[in-house]
């Protein structure tokens, strides 16, 4: 075991893992995090705690991660390169690991110009690959980014993300391989609505044998309405929402839309489960955490991975 997190244990044991996501509040309202943690803890093994998502200032991901931990939800703390340089990130990670956080997800981060402080100075001292490598080296080489010794080292299970729908498409599996070479233990993907494109990408991933070197958790999420589908298609960078999905959402009565969104999500999960090389599912509910339980149950992802995990003795 590299970090001994429940997520790592489940993946190592070959259990189909389910992770989800908690968005921190735009205030000091800790109850928001605690409530979401309680809502998700019986359905997911671990939950991402986002780091100022879309460049909007929110409560610190590490602080929220600790609150989730207190509520019995294992956190995957997200770290972006947008707001902190290599010094701040390392110091934050030492603190996080010391406080019992065991999973970290390394991302580039959305550009600040898309967020609520567009005049701020973007940092991007590192990119997500260099960040991934730095965290891996902190753990495995026991050294800081500058090469100085780090003892005792943070035991962190290192995650990274990939967007199979980003351009240039041909580069996306190469980038995944780079992230794995940099030290990613697991990968979460962008929300998948275009299954056809995702299949192509997975084929490339398998052709390169990457799926045997990393745990890939496929990203899914329920769409709430036809409007939300259109918004994601047209306005969210890096999203690929095919016309047929928009049509399906538009084709049902308004009050049936949420049900349809969950249905699409469950169908997607079932298709993904059949794919070789998919180690689990990452459900991004986007402020609709109530839906996660239903999705997990309907998709047949129970018995609860969380409870199973709890029965495993927590050793490294």
């Amino acid at each position: 075991m590299k970090a001994g997190s429940k997520l790592e244990q489940a993946l190592v044991e070959g259990r189909f893992a389910v992770t989800s996501e908690i968005g921190p509040p735009k205030s000091v309202d800790a109850e928001v995090v605690r409530r979401k943690a309680r809502l998700l803890r019986d359905h997911a093994l671990a939950a991402n705690i986002t780091d100022n998502p879309t460049g909007v200032v929110r409560m610190a991901s590490i602080a929220c991660g600790l609150m989730a931990l207190q509520e019995g939800m294992e956190p995957i703390v997200q770290v972006t390169c947008r707001d902190r340089n290599r010094m701040a990130i390392q110091s934050d990670l030492l603190g996080a690991a010391a406080m019992g956080i065991k999973n970290v997800l390394c991302l580039t981060g959305d550009h600040p110009s898309l967020g609520n402080h567009p005049q701020s100075k973007p940092v991007f001292d590192l990119d997500s690959l260099q960040l991934t490598q730095m965290v891996r080296n902190m753990r495995d080489e026991k050294q800081f980014q500058n090469g100085e010794e780090l003892n005792p080292e943070p035991r962190l299970f290192v995650g990274a993300v990939e967007n199979p729908f980003g351009h240039p498409l041909q580069f996306r599996s190469v980038r995944l391989a780079k992230k794995v070479n940099a030290g990613a233990d697991f990968i979460q993907t962008q929300l998948i609505f275009n299954i056809k494109r995702f299949r192509e990408w997975m084929q490339e991933v398998r052709d390169r044998g990457i799926h045997e070197r990393v745990y890939i958790l496929a990203g899914v999420g329920p769409i709430r309405s036809a409007g939300a589908a259109r918004f994601m298609r047209d306005r969210v960078p890096g999203m690929d929402v095919p016309e047929e999905v928009v049509q399906r959402m538009a084709g049902v009565e308004r009050n049936e839309a949420r049900k349809e969104g969950i249905k699409i999500c469950v169908e997607t999960i079932q298709e993904l489960r059949e794919m070789e090389g998919i180690a689990g599912i990452h459900i991004m509910a986007l402020e609709w955490e109530e839906a996660v339980g239903e999705i997990v149950e309907t998709a047949g992802l129970k018995p609860l991975p969380m409870r199973l995990a709890a029965s495993v003795s927590p050793e490294r």
């Binding site: 390169c81 947008r82 580039t108 991007f124 990119d127 260099q130 351009h167 780079k178 940099a182 960078p237």
Partner: protein
């Protein structure tokens, strides 16, 4: 070249509002080529400020001059007399010009008329585009002659982020994705496999954030 653009007129008028006699000083090099601070722009600025002064009933005098290069003291010395005769200088040079004036004439009040925008080039008539971040540690050799520091919004060194779509950046459809440009160039040159290598964190210490950087060439000293 250094590319600049004129500051908003209100800001310029604000800066020079306490002064009666102002020298508008242009520069004959980069900012002339980008139509921001050459002889003609000095004329336009002087005419505009004179009329603005006349309309608001202020009695102000504006002198006009343009030197070959504001960033070299030898050229500034040619207008030393005019500079000595005014209450303030409004420089239409880049930020270097403004500072060269400040250093050469310690008692002179000098104000910028331009915002120095970037190091770049004209890509079509009336359009300029950034090409260099003066990072002090050039990586163009690795990236087929396209700079990821300045052309990627996030200065990424290991490939495009997930927001690259149809060749444009996630932050605006008007900004080409720098990494798509790099990718396309590498493809043409048959060098795509070089992208599989992990580029280590950059040494940013050669660039910004170190106070006044200097280059000293002993062989050239007199």
């Amino acid at each position: 070249m250094i590319v600049g653009e004129q500051k908003p007129l209100d800001e310029i008028r604000d800066q020079i509002s306490p002064f009666k006699k102002v020298l508008i000083l242009g520069c004959g090099t980069c900012v002339t080529v980008c139509f921001a601070g050459g002889e003609k722009e000095v004329g336009v600025m002087a005419s505009t400020l004179r009329m603005a002064g006349a309309v608001s009933g202020q009695e102000k005098e504006f002198l006009e001059a343009t030197v070959k290069r504001q960033c070299e003291w030898e050229f500034l010395d040619q207008v030393a007399e005019q500079i000595a005769s005014v209450d303030a200088v409004l420089s239409l040079g880049c930020g270097i010009g403004v500072q060269a004036i400040a250093e050469r004439f310690p008692k002179v009040r000098v104000y910028p008329g331009l915002n120095t925008s970037f190091l770049g080039m004209p890509v079509e008539q009336g359009v300029w585009s950034a090409r260099c971040a003066a990072c002090g540690d050039c990586v163009l050799g690795r990236f087929a002659g396209v700079c990821p520091i300045v052309r990627c919004s996030k200065s990424l060194l290991n490939g495009p982020c997930g927001g690259s779509h149809d060749g444009v950046c996630e932050i605006s459809p008007d900004i080409p994705c720098g990494w798509q440009l790099i990718y396309d160039r590498l493809e043409v040159l048959g060098l795509l496999d070089t992208l599989e290598e992990i580029v280590p964190p950059k040494d940013w210490s050669a660039g910004m954030g170190r106070g006044g950087r200097s280059i000293v060439r002993e062989d050239l000293k007199i």
